[in-house]
């Protein structure tokens, strides 16, 4: 490429590069606009309508869907509470277990094998996890009961999923089992990337295992912890597959989540406008959590 007029040639090349760049971006942007961005806009719009989804008839109702959700729809309020409790549990417990296991395993020979064992459930689809556990809890199998009997605690045997008081906790156990698999992979890799010398120097200086964990491991896996908590939070807020296969929100909505109640309203009760409004609320909740997390992640960087 000969450049006769340096200045003009350069701008032309820049313009050409821009054109090429947009061509490279075109397929991704096109698909994203049609199947992601535009539907989001439409959902926000539908949220202001009463619409069965079957016909063309849509009635503008303003904010009524949102008002109804937070005032008269007791199931929605319950599902909101359940979703928030589940998010708290599924963001905290797998993170703590994953970090603890990773710190433990990375000190053992063959730690990678143990990590793979804990990781295994994460490979299994949530639908399959839900189906496996619904079968484990099935009163005709009742694996927890067999375990309790074996240790002499027959008195504790219980229909964990069938009882309103215990259903949510019981439904979250498989979630913890699966999510911990994700957490341990991230933490194990993060700990492996910490130079061994740091730990050895601490040991020479007489630091105990606990001290090394609190003073070296924990501060240096902070980045990984943010990622794990963010992912777990997002997945937990959207929790659908597990509940849909395990309890369908039963008994009496004790395990109902925003995502399952939204799905039921949209595709079972044919309240598409209402379902769309509910999905917008779910999106706003996720957005809220995202903002909190971004602040958490960036505040630490300023301090450091």
């Amino acid at each position: 490429m000969s450049v006769v007029h340096p200045h003009r040639g350069r701008t032309r090349r820049q313009r050409q590069e821009m054109r090429t760049a947009y061509l490279f971006l075109l397929p991704a942007l096109l698909v994203y606009l049609v199947f992601v961005f535009w539907p989001v806009v439409q959902s926000i719009y539908y949220g202001f309508f009463e619409w069965s989804g079957l016909g063309k008839e849509m009635t503008f109702v303003g904010l009524r869907n949102y008002v109804e959700m937070f005032t008269t729809d007791a199931v929605f309020l319950q599902s909101l509470g359940n979703s928030l409790i589940s998010t708290l549990v599924l963001a905290v417990v797998p993170t703590a277990l994953g970090l603890g296991f990773a710190a433990l395993f990375s000190s053992l020979r063959g730690g990678g094998v143990y990590r793979s064992v804990i990781f295994l459930p994460y490979l299994v689809a949530m639908v399959a996890v839900g189906t496996i556990w619904s079968w484990i809890y099935n009163p005709r199998i009742d694996a927890p009961g067999i375990l309790l009997q074996a240790v002499g605690l027959q008195g504790w045997m219980h229909d964990w999923l069938g009882d309103k008081a215990t259903a949510l906790a019981a439904a979250l156990v498989p979630g913890v089992w699966r999510f911990t698999g994700f957490a341990i992979v991230i933490f194990y890799a993060a700990i492996q990337s910490i130079p061994v010398d740091l730990f050895e120097a601490a040991r020479v200086d007489g630091a105990s295992g606990w001290q090394s964990f609190w003073k070296i491991t924990l501060p240096l896996v902070r980045q990984a912890m943010i990622i794990v908590v963010v992912w777990m939070t997002m997945d937990a807020l959207k929790l659908f597959d597990l509940i849909f296969t395990l309890t369908r929100g039963n008994p009496n909505h004790a395990t109902e989540m925003i995502a399952t109640w939204m799905f039921a309203n949209t595709f079972r009760h044919y309240k598409m406008g209402y379902g769309a409004a509910m999905s917008v609320v779910l999106f706003l909740i996720i957005l809220g959590f995202s903002i909190i997390y971004i602040r958490w992640a960036t505040r630490g960087e300023e301090e450091a």
Partner: protein
């Protein structure tokens, strides 16, 4: 973080050798407990219903495999396998292709609105699928794409573009640009530089995305549930849901069916462990 990270033990818990042995024993017990649901799942595929009723935890009397054959046939898992494989593999190729094109532009070229466009795409990572279900259901039925490979593939590609572009842009940035620049000076077009130089150099990143997305698509449920209504078009995960109902009185068939459904991700993990782990950790390293 390199894959060849130093594998020497980190914290040494306890100073006494015996104490460490006890610790190791406890870890083995923990792992066995963690695997116990898989034990229950596997062991009951070989049993008859009376055997299961007698004891779900006991070992089977014989290694009978007919539950697998029955589940495969009666739940039409063969057809569903074909559907899942077709949808997942085409989606992966298109998604990685389209994402890598965009990622190449973001990592190599200068253009107006680059940052804004990047964040616009990235915002999709946190978007819950639920938000787009209702409008997409309308769109897909309007385009007659319900219960079709094309419809499912289009949706899967669209939903993975944000994550794919984000991760692949990171990968391209780690590939040195000098060879490409040389190729461009030698008269290669941008597309040739991307296709013949950048893509092969970013191959580990592409394999990572391929593996990760394949497992996602294989395990995906909500989109399949919403947009596939014809029985013949069901994916394996929808099949699992169906089996949970039709086989609820025959536990050996149900468990065998579940085992069959989780085989592909396990195989992928066995053969591509390094890539899968790298893909999952890719976000955490940035």
């Amino acid at each position: 973080m390199s894959a060849s990270a130093d594998k020497r033990p980190r914290i040494r818990w306890g100073r006494v050798r015996a104490g460490r042995l006890v610790l190791e024993l406890l870890v083995v017990l923990l792992c066995l407990a963690w695997l116990s649901p898989f034990y229950l799942l596997l062991v009951n595929t070989f049993k008859t219903m009376p055997e299961i009723s007698a004891s779900p935890v006991a070992l089977p009397q014989s290694l009978r495999l007919d539950a697998y054959a029955k589940a495969w046939k009666e739940a039409h898992l063969g057809d569903y396998y074909k559907n899942s494989l077709a949808i997942a593999s085409v989606s992966v190729v298109l998604s990685v292709g389209v994402s890598s094109l965009a990622a190449y532009a973001f990592s190599r070229m200068r253009f107006l609105g680059k940052q804004a466009l990047f964040f616009f795409l990235l915002a999709g990572v946190m978007l819950p699928l639920q938000v787009v279900l209702v409008p997409l259901y309308r769109l897909m039925s309007g385009l007659d794409l319900l219960s079709s490979y094309r419809g499912m593939i289009a949706l899967y590609v669209a939903f993975t573009i944000p994550f794919g572009v984000f991760i692949l842009t990171g990968f391209f940035k780690t590939v040195p640009v000098e060879i490409e620049e040389a190729a461009l000076i030698d008269g290669c077009s941008r597309f040739q530089a991307y296709w013949k130089v950048a893509l092969p150099l970013a191959a580990p990143g592409l394999v990572t995305m391929t593996i990760l997305e394949f497992v996602w698509f294989w395990n995906e449920y909500l989109v399949a549930l919403t947009f596939i209504q014809e029985e013949a078009m069901r994916t394996v995960m929808l099949g699992v849901m169906v089996m949970a109902n039709t086989f609820q009185l025959d536990f050996s068939k149900l468990t065998a069916g579940i085992v069959i459904s989780v085989v592909p991700p396990i195989i992928v993990y066995i053969f591509f462990q390094k890539y899968l782990i790298r893909g999952l950790t890719a976000g955490a390293l940035k």
